[in-house]
């Protein structure tokens, strides 16, 4: 039953896991920021990712735009779209004590976007296939697909960018402060809606990056978003909420877990393993594994 893989296959599994996991990580960073400041579990994040995957697919098919070029455009669209979603949908609900309202709005948005995409693009899986889709580097005999490597590098850049933003800019510091105490933030003259819309913009901008990455390496359909957001939440559970680097690392760990478990116990079961890990972490470490400081108001 259990095969002992040779070293090459094992290394290949690790690399695939890490490269794919960064995508979960990027999605998880967005979720983490939004949950951090607003306590909203933005379940529509996955559908946003798929939406941007379709946008990049369209840019490619209709305009012949290379996905790594349209990426910049899509991130900009994502930033604007995110701020729009906040102002249009969550502005009122974010201030409410009852978080179920925001949760249900997110559920409604997910449902809406998923099904609109089905209407526009049908439920058939799509993928972007460029001249370099099957390009694979082979340093020391280990195969590294070009698109996955690009995805990994972009993810690292995006994470670094978000970290710098949170550390160096005024509004970035305000975002971190808001994760601790929004009321105290407003008492310093900071508009909470500005903080929240910036956070939503970043979250959706990151969804744009994840969407482009996804479109270049994996066939996607409208309903893949739900699975994706579940995976991002698992990454978040592993990495800890409110910790940007932890979220990326959580994504990578999840990617490894999936890649290894699908090899050892078979494709479909790897999902059950991930969800099982998710439930266990939720139950025993609701703050995530990486969180060191034990603090609760």
């Amino acid at each position: 039953m259990l095969e002992i893989p040779n070293l090459d296959i094992f290394i290949q599994l690790l690399i695939n896991g890490i490269l794919f996991g960064t995508m979960y990580g990027i999605a998880a960073i967005g979720l983490s920021l939004i949950f951090g400041t607003m306590r909203i579990m933005f379940l529509a994040q996955g559908s946003m990712i798929i939406l941007f995957a379709y946008v990049s697919y369209w840019f490619f098919e209709l305009l012949g735009l290379d996905p790594y070029i349209s990426l910049f455009l899509i991130v900009l669209i994502g930033l604007g779209f995110g701020a729009g979603i906040y102002h249009g949908l969550f502005k009122g609900a974010a201030a409410q004590e009852d978080k179920n309202i925001s949760l249900l709005i997110a559920v409604g948005l997910m449902f809406l976007v998923e099904n609109l995409m089905t209407v526009f693009w049908t439920a058939d899986p799509r993928t972007i296939s460029t001249g370099y889709t099957s390009l694979v580097f082979r340093p020391m005999g280990i195969g590294i697909p070009f698109n996955r490597l690009m995805g990994f590098i972009i993810a690292l850049f995006a994470t670094t960018g978000v970290l710098l933003f949170l550390k160096k800019t005024y509004i970035g510091i305000a975002v971190r402060a808001a994760a601790e105490d929004m009321e105290a933030v407003t008492l310093l003259g900071i508009n909470p809606h500005r903080v929240n819309s910036v956070v939503f913009a970043i979250g959706t901008g990151l969804a744009g990056i994840a969407g482009v990455e996804l479109a270049t390496i994996y066939p996607f359909d409208p309903f893949f978003g739900f699975i994706f957001v579940l995976k991002a939440m698992i990454a978040l559970a592993i990495g800890g909420i409110g910790n940007v680097f932890g979220a990326l690392l959580g994504g990578i760990i999840l990617g490894l877990l999936e890649s290894l478990s699908s090899f050892f116990i078979g494709g479909g079961w790897s999902d059950a393993v991930s969800y099982g890990v998710f439930l266990l972490i939720l139950m025993f470490r609701p703050e995530g594994l990486m969180v060191r400081s034990v603090k609760k108001a």
Partner: protein, 239 residues
Amino acid sequence: MLEIQGLNVFYGDIQAVWDVSLHVDEGSIVALVGANGAGKSTLLRAISGITSAKEGEILFSGKSLKKLPPQDIVKMGISHVPEGRRLFSNLTVYENLKLGAYIPRSRRSVTQSIERAYDLFPVLKNRMNQKAGALSGGEQQMLAIARAMMSRPMILMLDEPSLGLSPMLVKTMFELIMNLNRQKVTILLVEQNIHQALKIADQAYVLENGKIAMTGKGKELLSDPEVQKAYIGTRWSKS
């Protein structure tokens, strides 16, 4: 400078402040004293805009604050140090101070403001790169006040600044408040440490069950037999 007329404040279905009128003159120290739950903090929260369910009028230099959100009230020159300090414990001391100068008017002079804060509280300078959560109680209170001063307010509202401090530090804290006041900052002070608060207050209001029960000069109230009996005689026998 700050004028409150017939203010009623609600928490859900419960009314916490009843028909309160008071005024704060420019350059003065005004104390709001009273027992726990008398509505003192609620009054401050209503002024700074956190609590929006209110009737009546709040005027600052003649302009109404009643309908403004907290961020706009800060911009007008009112800074509120809330109960329990509410520092961002995962941010450094420096970052906490920097955020205090977020509003455009004060952001331009953030470097000078931070220098001034370090002059006022040298201990913060030594700890500028430590997380606020790592500070001691007294240091945290200083940081909270320093942060609120970063926006260069005209009125500083302090909610229980002496809470949880040792008697030594309480004394320092009140000296500091008087020091700030000498630098032309108007102070609106909420305190349960009634004796100390009345000693430094130009004007004081005693709140009972959300209503103003008494008002007068701080020193007068301090020697008022009723105040003595109700608040000072029993609990603060000799401080």
